[in-house]
Amino acid sequence: MMQTTQNSRDAIFGAIRSALKRSGPLPDARRAELDANVPQHTRPAQDENLLERFIRTFESRAGTVQHIASRAEIPAAVEAYRANMNLPHRAAVGAALKDLIWPADWQVHHNRAGTEELLSVSLCIAAIAETGSLMLGASADSPTTHNFVPDDHVVVLEAASIVGYFEEAWAILRQRSEGMPRATNIISGPSRTADVEQTIQLGAHGPRRVHVLIVAA
């Protein structure tokens, strides 16, 4: 098997290079130059303040937001959300938030989420005002299943971590000492589909609702 792929690999590169009228790889200097290139693509102009824009765009995609004054208020806000949605007193909470103190009748765990999980709480890495998107990275602190399995996903966003453009979010990822997360999820509201007669329906496979708690800067 490996043999076949190696042969195929050579054949494909051979075909590509002959199509490009080259006999071998680019010279090393040119390759280094290409790799060093930092693209500067047009970014759609924004004329709002980041927080306002994030909220507007996120809400336009059926997400909901709530402001809280400090991290300590998270459990109370989640409890209020839970009560409003009539959910059980249970949540899968990313270990990034494990310092929080939850009400006594709550069952909280930091493991991955299974089908029985109805509510999860995650801390996001950043938010992107351009499209109203949250950026979450897979780790022991933030399992990917939390983002997709439960019906209700509450995401904690530090107001200071809102950036204007995707490019700024990528810069944050590049600065991480552990490198790219295994999965980076850019999430812009609840899951949706329009596959039946173009009718938009929320909660296709992922969360039916995404609620953001914005922690004041």
Partner: protein, 467 residues
């Protein structure tokens, strides 16, 4: 799927008379076109982005080997595996191999046009594996045992009623008739599959050379559940989908959702980099990328390189009046509409898809919306040129062209011929038009032929003015 593009004409006629298809298509057309136009209008930079995207793609293609190598290295560094497949058969073999090795019983799939291109499902099913399409549209057509009719809305040809029937038959009643209930039913059925899956297969909208990541863009989140919950994640992608950096992918992201579904963004943009890390609580244990050539390196060489810019947004078909009239299935293979009419003959052979490049008025609406400015009409014309050169066009057409050239390069003869034609047509005309004309039935079956005024313009002009 077996190519059936040779039956284009009959399938097109059939489609035109299919009332539910026409109902579904009408709805889709209006939705996609209006929403895209609104997005384009709301973004002053839209045209500049299209131009940049075109140039960036050209740059990538010009250095494709380099970016692929850079990508491959980065995938390996992240603990993933890269496989190279020259054609569909090799791609199937690679994937089958992986699935067999891990003893896969259930395979979930996010939407992947490349997997359609390589006939993957059939091969896996043949080997006793259960294959479950998880994109709602793909799931619907899998139940209907049909190929997709659109590259981003595979079940666009189905009405709600038809979906109700399919779900009732597959899931057992009670029959659901509301969209919300239908979606919910599929959600419940598919959740169980995600958690049971041994292998999850997704496509890759972009492959990021900088980080060795694959990027998928979805609205439903099915691709994420597919790749997060299975033990093995396999990405299938064409070799042309590589981009240098995350910033470069962003340029395309800004165009993709707007062009495809008329949204500023899709709900989920997911960047996957390698398998589960030691400390991760979820995610696949293995991460594989199968890079498929299947005719692409050949396209890179000739007149058709522009086609490799395609980011599979579907805007060209949404705006194509022929696609809008006949739907995707008439095209007879996995890629329909304008982009399919270029790709199908190139991948499956000019002679296997004679009609596709020809069944087009060259009206140019596709090219005018294509986010990477692919000159689709020019490419279709170029395919006609190849067909003409290889004498694949009908003999009658080639004879007619010869005769036309003979006469039209002799002005006196041409004008005399026109004058005769005018006189004959004038004789046949009643009340300004002709209802039936032998030899021109294809015209008069559909519409009257306006009768000429009397003399040709040149005759009258010369009579009045000399020159």
């Amino acid at each position: 799927m077996e190519i059936r593009s040779k039956e284009f004409k009959s399938r097109a006629v059939f489609a035109i008379h299919d009332a539910s298809l026409q109902q579904a298509m009408g709805k889709a057309r209006d939705g996609f076109v209006g929403k895209r136009a609104q997005q384009a209008a709301e973004l002053p930079e839209f045209e500049a982005l299209r131009e940049e995207a075109k140039n960036l793609k050209n740059h990538i293609l010009e250095n494709l080997d380099h970016y692929l190598e850079r990508y491959e290295d980065a995938v390996k560094r992240a603990g993933g595996h890269v496989h190279w497949a020259r054609d569909a058969q090799e791609a199937r073999a690679i994937i089958l191999d992986i699935c067999k090795r891990v003893n896969a019983k259930t395979i979930t799939k996010g939407k992947s046009m490349v997997s359609e291109e390589i006939d993957l499902n059939e091969a896996l099913i043949e080997h006793g594996m259960e294959v479950v399409e998880t994109d709602l549209g793909e799931y619907i057509i899998q139940l209907a045992n049909e190929p997709p009719s659109h590259i981003i809305a595979p079940a666009v040809h189905k009405t709600k009623n038809q979906v109700s029937d399919l779900f009732e038959a597959a899931h057992g009643g009670p029959r659901k008739t509301e969209v919300a209930d239908l979606v919910n039913e599929a959600r419940q059925v598919l959740r169980e599959k995600y958690f049971r899956a041994d292998v999850g297969i997704t496509g890759g909208n972009f492959l990021i050379a900088e980080t060795g990541s694959s990027m998928i863009v979805t609205n439903e989140g099915n691709g994420d559940l597919t790749q997060t919950l299975a033990k093995v994640h396999i990405v299938t992608s064409g070799i042309e989908r590589v981009v240098p950096t995350l910033d470069d992918a962003t340029l395309f992201l800004r165009l993709l959702a707007r062009s495809a579904t008329g949204q500023e963004t899709e709900t989920y943009t997911t960047i996957s980099t390698g398998p589960r890390r030691a400390t991760d609580l979820d995610g696949p244990e293995e991460y594989h990328v199968v890079l498929v050539d299947n005719g692409r390196s050949k396209m890179l060489a000739g007149h058709f390189r522009d086609m490799l810019r395609c980011i599979r947004c579907g805007a060209c078909m949404n705006h194509c009046p022929v696609y809008g009239s006949v739907g995707g299935h008439a095209y007879g293979w996995v890629y329909p509409g304008p982009m399919g009419s270029v790709l199908t003959p190139l991948i499956k052979g000019l002679d296997n898809a004679y009609d596709l490049p020809n069944a087009c008025t060259l009206n140019g609406r596709c090219a005018s919306v294509c986010p990477v400015k692919i000159p689709l009409p020019d490419l279709l014309r170029e395919l006609r040129h190849l067909q003409h050169q290889q004498e694949l066009s009908p003999v009658m057409q080639r004879r007619a062209l010869k005769a036309w050239r003979f006469v039209a390069t002799r002005p006196k003869l041409y004008h005399a011929g026109e004058w005769i034609a005018v006189r004959v047509l004038k004789l046949l005309g009643r009340k300004g038009s002709i209802r039936r004309l032998p030899f021109a039935q294809a015209w008069t079956d559909v519409r009257d032929l306006p009768t000429p005024e009397g003399q040709t313009f040149l005759q009258r002009w010369q009579a009045q003015r000399g020159k």
